[in-house]
């Protein structure tokens, strides 16, 4: 297995070995597949994803809306198998957390880890909070499930947590119901809930989308503190590349249920090696520039996850699809290959073409 780099997380390289090989990293995901049967066909939301993450490090997952980021996190948390969702999902692959494999584990074991060793900040605060219980009670419950303390102690903890996420007058607001909070306040309440037990693995799915920048800065600091204090590993899903630049050690770019590029954050911004990543960087509005021109999205439509395009899933939208010889982009799926120190890309373009396109065509426009 590849030597871990200095930045800690090594992600995405093909993992060929069987289930017996022990993990080397704190979190290791191997060839994860999550498929949903629907009336229209099998939706392949995640289709062969592998990565690793060390304690104390932050991995940012970016990628197209609908590319499987949330589905991946729910899989790690063991949440696909629950309730109504569970009936309709097919999962395979391996997820190792601190030496334990989770996909094959008993649901009870996973439940015990959830909320204590691993916690998740959900993308959608409303769907993650119960409308009929006060915010405080929900945090108290989250805390008491894993800590044998009185309600009073847990309530003190709840107020302290709400304070840390910047809810004004936490001692009073602790008894509000979710609908009495603004969008951003709900999101912060959920962050408070997920931090209740100082998790070792925190998966934060768009934790700051509903937040103004000042509160966002505060939340990012809070996550950094957690990391420092408890050596927690953090998976941060966001499409805010400003946040990525600021907090990530490693970046993983997803497209159509797979990783198309991953590497150290500096590399991803300085020398991205995949046409989809180029497209992402190119479509960003920048606050540090007056922008009167039109934004430039990646052209074309997101791929169907039922009839995934053959070969490279990005080929119908890729401006360079014809460069690699013999129409190979349409017939053969590119695997992740090392393109630089600890930097991987899944693209058939030759290194020369990639460097040329990046330096001559893409970078000057950013």
């Amino acid at each position: 297995m590849t030597e871990l780099s200095k930045t800690g997380a090594a992600v995405g390289e093909p993992v060929a070995e069987g289930p017996s090989k022990p993990p080397t990293a704190f979190l290791e995901v191997r060839d994860l597949k999550v498929h949903f049967p629907t009336d229209d066909g099998l939706v392949k939301s995640v289709d062969g994803l592998s990565f690793k993450l060390e304690r104390g490090k932050t991995l940012s997952i970016v990628g197209e809306s609908g590319s499987g980021k949330s589905v991946t996190s729910l899989a790690i948390m063991g949440l696909h198998r629950l309730g109504a969702r569970g009936k309709n999902v097919k999962m395979s692959g391996e997820i190792w957390l601190d030496g334990k494999e989770l996909i094959g584990a008993a649901p009870d074991d996973v439940r015990r880890l959830r909320g204590r060793d691993m916690a998740m900040i959900f993308q959608d605060p409303l769907s993650a909070m119960h409308p009929y219980y006060t915010v405080g009670n929900q945090i108290v419950e989250a805390y008491r499930v894993h800590n044998n303390v009185s309600k009073k102690v847990a309530r003190t903890r709840a107020v302290e947590l709400l304070d840390r996420v910047g809810i004004p007058e936490p001692a009073k607001r602790v008894d509000s119901y979710p609908h009495e909070f603004s969008g951003g306040m709900r999101q912060r309440a959920m962050i408070a809930m997920s931090l209740a037990n100082n998790p070792q693995l925190l998966i934060a799915d768009e934790p700051t989308t509903a937040l103004d920048v000042t509160v966002q800065a505060q939340i990012l600091d809070l996550i950094r503190d957690l990391q420092k204090e408890f050596e927690s590993a953090v998976v941060l899903i966001t499409h805010d590349l400003g946040v990525v630049a600021e907090i990530a050690d490693q970046v993983l770019v997803m497209y159509g249920g797979r990783c198309v590029e991953r590497g150290p954050v500096e590399q991803i911004f300085a020398e991205p090696q995949h046409p989809y990543t180029w497209g992402l960087l190119g479509s960003m509005p920048r606050i540090d520039r007056e922008q009167t021109e039109r934004l430039v999205p990646v052209k074309g439509q997101p791929p169907s996850l039922i009839n995934v395009p053959s070969g490279c899933a990005f080929h119908p939208r890729c401006p360079y699809a014809d460069l690699p010889k013999g129409g190979i982009t349409r017939t053969q799926r590119p695997e992740l290959q090392e393109v630089g120190g600890d930097h991987f890309s899944a693209c058939h373009l030759s290194p020369e073409d990639r460097t040329r396109i990046w330096t001559e065509e893409i970078a000057p426009k950013l």
Partner: protein
């Protein structure tokens, strides 16, 4: 697509070859929406008799206009009343006071029936995409609901039009028969957008319309909204916290703080020379997508005081408990929203980048001296342990934030709302406006 062929030099791609509509929007065009003294308070009631004991002053007296064909951006701290303002101006909830005029018609007092013909013209895109989509309906039926409710038959039939709309926002026919829970966050947000744009309304109030979208689809949606604006002359009020997006889409921007508008300006001047101290702090906090600048360039003004309660906001200028320029007058007298430069309105006694409005009052309040911290960001891995960083077992940073507010001042921002006091009999009246499913066509208040 837009018509104006413009020589946008570098970005040669076909889709890039047009200037966003807002760049050419009318300077002094016709007013579509006028809001005067708008107030929305959520009552807090107590006891068996449900006596009102206090109120959450979510929106507390704001005035502004939106001109035909322009985009007004609205920014401000979480909880400052942006969504509430949006719901009130679309009449999804009733205002407590003030006046709303749409196309010259006073719509403040119109009830459900009176509003019905206007529903088609005024649409809202909700902040919480999940809460606003009926979980029992397929996406096809959610997006076709506006046609059914308004009895509109589009050319080529409803189904075809709905599929066209879905495609416009980057969804495909394979999504037509799926239910909201089967979608990703960003896909749900786009469903809300498709629904709101279905009837080609005149005014769209969009509450965080692109916050859950990756930058590429975000660009696609922003361009779509641009196109519709130039084709149909749509007018937008866009509430967003992403200041880069707001800068890109807006002609003018309103900055809200605790239920009030504190600054209203065109986008260029707002970003280049913010006048209100709060605006300045807000701008400084934006993360820049460039890891090499981490630690170096990203200096930001961190407001240390906590957000005061909207139940009993601070006296005078509401920002005085957190402002580094606050003086005595800020505590006692509320600064009016004044025009300090052409096209720029600011509510501040001591604005930045403009003439001091109260030059004689120079003694800073005690709280002002500790109101902010200018921080630079530290890398997590490369840097050993910068001095500014708290030791693991020392007090968490936020606790001294709380102290500042407490010690801060006598205006009782801190011990304000015993109204919010959550004794079991106290209750914030849930207004009937929980995000409504797909029949937002009807006013849901009462």
């Amino acid at each position: 697509m837009s018509e104006t062929p413009v020589s946008v030099t570098k970005k040669a791609e076909p889709q890039a070859a047009a200037v966003p509509a807002q760049a050419t929007s009318p300077e002094n065009g016709e007013v579509l929406l006028r809001v005067e003294g708008l107030v929305k308070h959520f009552p807090i009631k107590k006891g068996i008799l449900q006596r009102q004991v206090a109120a959450v002053k979510a929106v507390d007296g704001i005035d502004f206009e939106v001109r035909k064909g322009e985009t007004l951006g609205v920014v401000g701290e979480s909880g400052c009343g942006k969504s509430t303002m949006g719901r009130v101006i679309t009449k999804l909830i009733e205002p407590t006071g003030g006046k709303i005029e749409f196309e010259g018609q006073d719509i403040t007092k119109l009830g459900t029936r009176g509003m019905r013909p206007l529903r088609r013209d005024i649409q809202m895109i909700f902040q919480d995409p999940y809460g606003s989509l009926n979980p029992r309906h397929t996406i096809g039926s959610i997006v076709s609901a506006p046609f059914r409710l308004q009895g509109v038959e589009p050319e080529g039939g409803v189904k075809k039009e709905v599929q066209r709309l879905l495609e416009l926002v980057g969804l495909s026919p394979e999504h037509f028969n799926r239910y909201p829970h089967e979608f990703s966050g960003g896909q749900r947000q786009r469903i809300g957008i498709a629904r709101a744009l279905a009837l080609k309304p005149k005014l769209v109030v969009a509450d965080e319309p692109v916050s859950a979208l990756d930058v590429s689809i975000q660009a696609q949606v922003v361009n779509l909204m641009d196109d519709l604006q130039s084709e149909l002359g749509l007018t937008y009020v866009i509430i967003a916290h992403d200041l880069s997006v707001v800068r890109h889409v807006s002609d003018r921007i309103a900055v809200m703080y605790l239920g009030k508008i504190v600054e209203l300006a065109d986008r260029t001047s707002l970003y280049e020379a913010p006048m209100h101290p709060y605006t300045k702090a807000l701008m400084s906090a934006v993360p820049v997508p460039d890891p090499t600048r981490r630690g170096a360039k990203s200096e930001r003004i961190l407001l240390k005081g906590d957000v005061p309660s909207p139940i009993s906001p601070p006296s005078g200028c509401r920002f005085h408990t957190r402002c580094w320029k606050a003086t005595e007058i800020c505590k006692t007298s509320e600064p009016p929203l004044l025009q300090l430069a052409p096209g720029r309105q600011v509510a501040c006694h001591h604005p930045e980048n403009a003439e001091d409005q109260a030059p004689d009052d120079t003694t800073l309040l005690a709280v002002a001296k500790e109101a902010i911290e200018v921080v630079t960001l530290a890398r997590t891995d490369t840097e050993p342990e910068p001095a500014t960083e708290s030791e693991p077992d020392s007090e968490p940073e936020t606790s001294d934030v709380a102290d500042v507010t407490d010690a801060a001042d006598e205006t009782d921002a801190a011990d304000s709302g015993d109204a919010a006091d959550s004794g079991d009999e106290s209750e914030v009246q849930p207004s009937a406006d929980a995000d409504e499913p797909d029949d937002v066509q009807e006013s849901t208040d009462k």
